[in-house]
């Protein structure tokens, strides 16, 4: 039963009125993923609210406050599967004050669905969400022009929006963008082809999601293995056994290959790679494995195993694009905790280089005040060198977070330039 599937993670970003929740509800409904009692529950609520049709958005709005106000406050995760793929949806709020939640939901996504209300066209929010998707290096963007039923399914309206978006998108770092005219409410081009838009020859949203090529989304070129923990059984049978456990963060590792441990610089060869309790020949991302080496060298959490001829950058002075997630302003004299792969160090800000004005996607080099939801480029210095790759090259070894030591909150998301 659906055994040969991959997982595709996508986010949906759109303002409260763009019909994002209705779209997700429609995907679940038309792919027959909604169980009968869930449907009964939302029918009852729809009736209670005085709505004529089943309000599909009720499927995804979960918390009490949200249901009362009719908006999405936090990230909600929904799951469905077709015979081809398992899907994980991160449904995120559209309001600017919830940028932090969009960034959360988007960080591991393969695809970003950008929703545009056909009556309004491209607005500030469209730019902001698209920019964030590109900043987080989400490999594929699908722009859904929604509510086509309210503009008479007009082809010109759709094309104008596509052109405006393409002009803006030329400034973004996105490799793959598709455009689909839909009506989430009526169901046009979501799962089933529209009968009202013969002029559109492209794929439906579901078809696009099911067939999108995501095989190249992970880095298979640069071998990277950040050690999470060391497994030492200390039993009779496994007296001297020592394995390094973690997730392959990049590239491919094979038995007998020569490896280099950073930051120590010590070398060894891979003795064996285990997936669970089974020995395997090859390991690649995102497998969680344990690795044993020929030599008994000192390796601990935070160290990274790589190949001698392909090393990551290793330095304490790093340039990073940040998204500030916290309510409090950035304090230039503050010391922050920094988490990068399995490493934890302290970091300070040396310089704010520029802030980004999202609506124009331009750099502001004069205003250096950093507050909540700001996106900016900065130089930082860490207490110990980090082993990293540019985020563009590897989302696992190029990402980091900053933590406020007094409140323990995660205050910033960083992408190494």
């Amino acid at each position: 039963m659906y055994l040969n599937m991959e997982i595709l993670r996508f986010t949906t970003a759109g303002s409260v009125d763009d019909g994002k929740s209705t779209l997700i509800g429609r995907l679940l409904f038309d792919s027959k993923s909604i169980f009968l009692d869930q449907l009964e529950a939302i029918s009852k609520i729809s009736n209670r609210k005085g709505l004529n049709q089943i309000d599909l958005s009720l499927l995804t709005d979960g918390l009490k406050d949200e249901r009362e106000q009719g908006i999405t406050i936090d990230v909600a995760y929904r799951y469905f599967a077709t015979p081809k793929r398992k899907f994980i949806i991160a449904d995120t709020p559209g309001h600017i004050q919830y940028t932090r939640n969009m960034v959360t939901g988007a960080s591991t996504a393969n695809v970003a669905l950008i929703l545009i209300d056909a009556r309004k066209g491209v607005i500030e929010q469209t730019f902001r969400h698209s920019f964030i998707a590109s900043l987080l290096q989400i490999p594929h963007l699908v722009v859904c022009v929604n509510k086509m039923d309210l503009v008479n399914y007009n082809e010109n309206t759709f094309n104008e929006i596509v052109n405006t978006y393409k002009n803006f998108a030329s400034k973004l770092d996105v490799k793959d963008i598709s455009f689909i005219p839909i009506s989430a409410l009526m169901g046009d081009n979501v799962v089933n082809r529209s009968n009202n838009m013969d002029w559109y020859q492209g794929a439906t949203l579901m078809h696009t999601l099911e067939n999108m090529h995501i095989g190249s989304d992970q880095n298979h070129l640069d071998p990277r293995f950040a050690v999470q923990t060391v497994i030492r059984p200390h039993t009779e049978q496994y007296h001297d056994y020592r394995a390094y456990a973690g997730r392959i963060d990049g590239g491919v590792f094979r038995k007998d290959e020569e490896v280099l441990v950073m930051p120590s610089g010590l070398k060894s060869k891979i003795k064996a790679i285990y997936y669970g309790d089974v020995e395997i020949e090859v390991a690649f991302p995102p497998m969680s494995v344990s690795i044993t080496l020929n030599d008994d060298i000192d390796i601990s959490r935070g160290d990274m195993i790589v190949k001698p001829n392909n090393q990551p950058n290793s330095t304490q002075d790093i340039e990073v694009m940040f998204c500030w997630l916290n309510q409090n302003q950035l304090n230039m004299s503050g010391k922050y905790l920094l988490k990068h792969t399995t490493n934890q160090v302290k970091a300070i800000f040396k310089e704010i280089i520029y802030k980004i004005d999202i609506s124009t996607v331009s750099r502001n080099e004069t205003d250096k005040q950093i507050g909540t939801n700001d996106i900016f480029r900065a130089k930082i210095r860490t207490t110990k060198p980090l082993q990293f790759d540019p985020y563009r090259r590897n989302r696992n070894t190029g990402s980091l977070i900053l933590i406020d030591e007094t409140t323990n909150e995660t205050i910033a998301a960083g992408m190494i330039v």
Binding site: F35, S107, G215, T229, R247
Partner: protein, 301 residues
Amino acid sequence: MNNYLLKHLQELESESIFIIREVFAQFENPAILFSGGKDSIVITHLAKKAFWPAKIPFPLVHIDTGHNFPETITYRNWLVNQLGANLIVGFVQNTIDAGKVKEETGLNASRNVLQTTTLLDTINENKFDSCMGGARRDEEKARAKERIFSHRDEFGQWNPKNQRPELWNLFNGKKLTDEHFRVFPISNWTEMDIWQYILFENITLPTLYFSHQRQVFERNGSLLSVSPYVTLRAGEVAENKTIRYRTCGDITITGAIESTASTVQEIILELAASRLTERGNREDDKRSETSMEDRKKEGYF
């Protein structure tokens, strides 16, 4: 050229193992919350893989309401013995006897809500700084919003408005001394994923999940088991039926489904055709629309 793509069960498995190892690395005193249900059984199986060939470095913690299916207790004891695991049991009866909570009375009484107090007490007594549970996001709407590393305050309470942003695979488990974390390694697994995994890995489950004969009666649209803890009302008739359980809570509140599915394959086929959600038959969730959310705010699983 090889195809470096993981199938979905392996990707989910790898993600869960990563999370379990992070818990081990970041916390001093973690525990696995074990109910004897399929989700916590899968978590235990994943933990075993995560640390192989070493033993699971955490105790299994069972909050025993005293209203369990006997089969659950039998299974729990068998598994603990098999793994050579450390089992810690928190008894709701003790909490009642100590006067900290009052037994519910009335026809629909259950000990479900009382568990929270026992759970929090057990966490405090053992000074657990993190507890891993088998909750999944697809189960219920309040769970859909949960983080994988979910921060709880010193009262064990969950504040949905203040959960930390969770980015990439970087989990922030920093906390003050009296606080703790609930961690949910199988957040991204669906019910179907769990069963497929059970099939592939040949995981043994309590017999409750498989078709068997039982004395049951109907109440509020659910088929409840006859047991020493439930009193039948006038008009309620106990009958012998061929049933199985899709979810295993307390015997007082878990509804059975009529089914002849007696193998994992048959269960999967039945599930695929099923139109009702897994927890739809849980009386505890039906108490109000925000039942789960309210319980979580109090400190429930």
